[in-house]
């Protein structure tokens, strides 16, 4: 490529290699894009394709002694079920602020974490909670109630069972 007769250059001079080295560039680009694609593929792994939580629907049987305004709290679920003359409804007891479980009180609900208070219908009375507590879908199955924690209904939806 070069001959000895050509004047020697200093090794500290820049050489215009990349322009001529198409092969090297192609190889580097191929390697780079393969690695990028691999990383993109690998980045998909940590996000679970399906969450392993049990069905959000569950059935409960309300006790006959349940008074209007009194909350029925199915065990293992974050739901309060109420019944009055107009029907039955379920309110989620998960605080809309940061997800603590609110306590049911005669005046409504109180969150133990940051002091939010909610009226019996779930609307925010005090504290940092940004939204009212969700009302959940209730339907009847024979003598039992089916409550779907996954489906939110407009507040005030009461179901006659």
């Amino acid at each position: 490529m070069t001959t000895v007769s050509k004047p020697a250059r200093s090794r500290l001079d820049p050489e215009p290699i990349p322009r001529r080295d198409m092969l090297g560039l192609a190889a580097l680009w191929a390697a780079g894009s393969a690695l990028v694609l691999a990383v993109l593929g690998m980045a998909r792994l940590p996000k679970a394709a399906v969450v392993s939580s049990p069905s959000k629907r569950f059935t409960v049987m309300l006790p006959d002694s349940l008074q209007p305004g009194q909350a029925f709290l199915p065990s293992g679920r974050s739901v309060a079920v109420f019944r009055d003359q107009e029907g039955t409804w379920a309110v989620s007891t998960i605080c809309t602020h940061l997800g603590c479980i609110v306590r049911s009180t005669p005046a409504g609900f109180e969150c133990p974490c940051h002091g939010s208070s909610f009226a019996p219908d779930g609307t925010v009375v005090r504290g940092p909670a940004p939204r009212a507590l969700s009302w959940l879908k209730v339907s009847a199955a024979g003598e039992k109630l089916v409550i779907d924690e996954g489906t939110v209904v407009p507040p005030g939806t009461k179901v006659q069972v």
Binding site: L23, G24, A26, A27, L28, A30, A31, S33, A34, L37, A38, G41, A49, V50, S52, S53, P54, S55, R57, F58, T59, G150
Partner: protein
């Protein structure tokens, strides 16, 4: 130096290509393809993995990723056989998932893996025609009758017109009391859900009150016998009619005489308590035709046990194809699962903790479930090739000579040294009343009463030395030189000699057993020597001499 650049370029392009192949593999997984082609009422279905998680049972069933129609959270899914919805069953599918009943590999998302038809998954799906076998994972059924008893009970239930008001397995229940209102309760699951033990007196009361209508038309007082039959029939209503029938047949082939199930039965064959869970990867399908499923293996095994299991002692089960299918179904239902307390069924608990019986304790059922395997369904005896005979215990000549005490004692103590186990004393054996009912049934079946013997148990005084000579010439061909038994039963058995009276032995030799190889030696014959009464007594004296000999 360019070699390395070519290396880099080539392998990088190769990696790129393989990454794209892998992405395509991922993007065209079976469940994705299925879901993309599926419509629901609200338009195309969202393509995502679906599963039913049951924390209590510890299962995550991804079956609904392909069978989207079965997903309890999906409604209005349309498209083909794959998308049909699950039939309405007692168990909430969103709580129980799929594999607890159907078995298979719930964690898998590809057909072969999920259906378990792959190596290294020991619990394949129960074939659809046997799906009721899945109930056996958790449920037991108590007090089930044998085939004869079941037929009588079902006959009574239908004869007495119970189906007029009650619905059973989709039949009947059309007539409503007083013309309108509720029909009678559905009795399809009466054995599991339980029913009012006072039902008869309450029915009677209604009948007395009623002037007309269905209470008068379809009901009338019934007898004690029929009441028992109806309660027998109700004990077979476990919500799975075919499984119940399968069990009835299992209890009619004497399987329990050699096999244990849930802590009851004989010890000659393997314990079958978990037979339905057999790993298909651990059995040989060399002799099995058709698909290599456990069900096919079982049916072939019933037809010809020895060709599938080397050295199997089990005789072939000589029944119709339909019955083989039922037996296969019952065998498949013999499975267990570690379950948290709240999921354990009441019946299973009663069987395992309280040792309640899964079969009825009437003589007929006990005989057909336990004794029929060796002695025949009619007590006619059996002989497997190359083995000693199993005695024909319903033989009238035998029953005439064998006292009730003889029969009870034989069942209770068994015959040490022979296949007959000591049913009364062995672990996992019969209870006293079951033995006596079976003995009663045996005598009833033979139709012969014990010929009362005025003599004492031991009255005989023959010449043992002379007997020895006679035995060698007359008896040893069948019973062996030392009475050890060949085609004929062993006579040197101490348990037999302890129970048998002198009369029993003398009469048996003199008169023989009809319909067996044993003929009476008093009767003159061309083929073998005839013995005089005195000579017979000599032979018995010789046989008695074995009583003290350790054999």
């Amino acid at each position: 130096m360019n070699k390395n650049k070519y290396l880099l370029l080539g392998s990088s392009l190769g990696v790129l290509a393989l990454l794209i192949v892998a992405a395509a593999q991922e993007g065209f997984r079976e469940w994705r393809v299925i879901q993309r082609a599926t419509q629901s009422d609200e338009g195309p279905l969202g393509v995502r993995l679906r599963q039913v998680v049951s924390p209590g049972l510890g299962t995550s069933d991804r079956c609904v990723s392909c069978h989207v129609g079965m997903d309890p959270n999906e409604q209005g899914v349309r498209g083909g056989r794959l998308m049909i919805q699950h039939a309405d069953v007692v168990h909430d599918t969103s709580e129980f998932g799929c594999t607890i009943c159907h078995s298979g590999q719930g964690l898998a998302t590809e057909k072969l893996d999920a259906h378990g038809e792959v190596r290294f998954w020991p619990e394949p799906m129960i074939p659809l025609q046997f799906s009721q076998a899945g109930c056996g994972t958790c449920h037991a059924s108590l007090g089930m009758p044998g085939l004869e008893a079941f037929r009588q009970a079902r006959g009574a239930f239908e004869r007495l017109d119970c189906l007029a008001c009650h619905r059973v397995d989709g039949r009947g229940g059309t007539m409503r009391p007083d013309g309108f209102g509720m029909e009678g309760p559905d009795l399809s699951r009466a054995a599991l859900s339980g029913y009012d033990p006072d039902w008869y007196s309450k029915h009677l009361l209604e009948w007395e009150k009623a002037e007309s209508g269905s209470w008068k038309a379809a009901f009338a007082p019934i007898g004690e016998q029929d009441l028992r039959l109806i309660s027998t029939y109700l004990s077979t209503r476990i919500g799975a009619a075919k499984l119940a029938e399968a069990k009835v047949h299992f209890l009619s082939n004497g399987c329990l005489g050699c096999h244990r199930v849930s802590g009851f039965g004989g010890d000659e064959g393997p314990d079958l308590t978990r037979a339905g869970e057999k790993d298909p990867g651990q059995v040989s399908f060399a002799q099995v035709q058709g698909k290599h499923t456990l069900a096919n293996w079982f049916s072939e095994h019933f037809r010809s046990p020895a060709s599938l299991v080397a050295d199997s002692l089990m005789p072939a089960v000589d029944v119709s194809d339909e019955e083989i299918e039922l037996l296969t179904m019952y065998t498949l239902s013999l499975r267990r699962r570690e379950l948290p307390g709240t999921y354990v069924s009441k019946e299973r608990m009663r069987v395992e903790k309280l040792e309640e019986r899964e079969f009825a304790s009437d003589g007929q059922t006990v005989f057909s479930a336990v004794c029929a395997g060796c002695h025949g369904k009619k007590g006619e005896g059996k002989q497997a090739p190359g083995r000693q005979v199993f005695p024909a215990i319903a033989n009238p000549d035998f029953l005439a000579l064998a006292s009730d005490e003889f029969i009870l004692e034989t069942i209770t103590q068994g015959r040490p040294g022979r296949k007959m186990p000591s049913w009364g004393t062995k672990e996992a054996g019969l209870k006293k009343y079951e033995i006596s009912r079976a003995a009663e049934y045996l005598r009833k079946m033979g139709g012969v009463e014990f010929r009362t013997d005025p003599k004492t148990r031991r009255w005989l005084s023959g010449n043992s030395a002379e007997g020895k000579r006679l035995f060698a010439s007359a008896c040893s061909t069948c019973h062996g030189a030392e009475g050890e038994g060949k085609e004929g039963p062993a006579l040197n058995n101490k348990a037999l000699l302890a129970i048998a009276t002198d009369t029993y032995l003398v009469e048996t030799i003199s008169g023989g057993r009809r319909r067996t190889l044993m003929e009476g030696f008093l009767t003159p014959s061309m083929a073998r020597p005839t013995l005089s009464p005195a000579e017979i007594e000599d032979v018995v004296a010789y046989i008695r001499s074995w009583e003290g000999v350790e054999k």
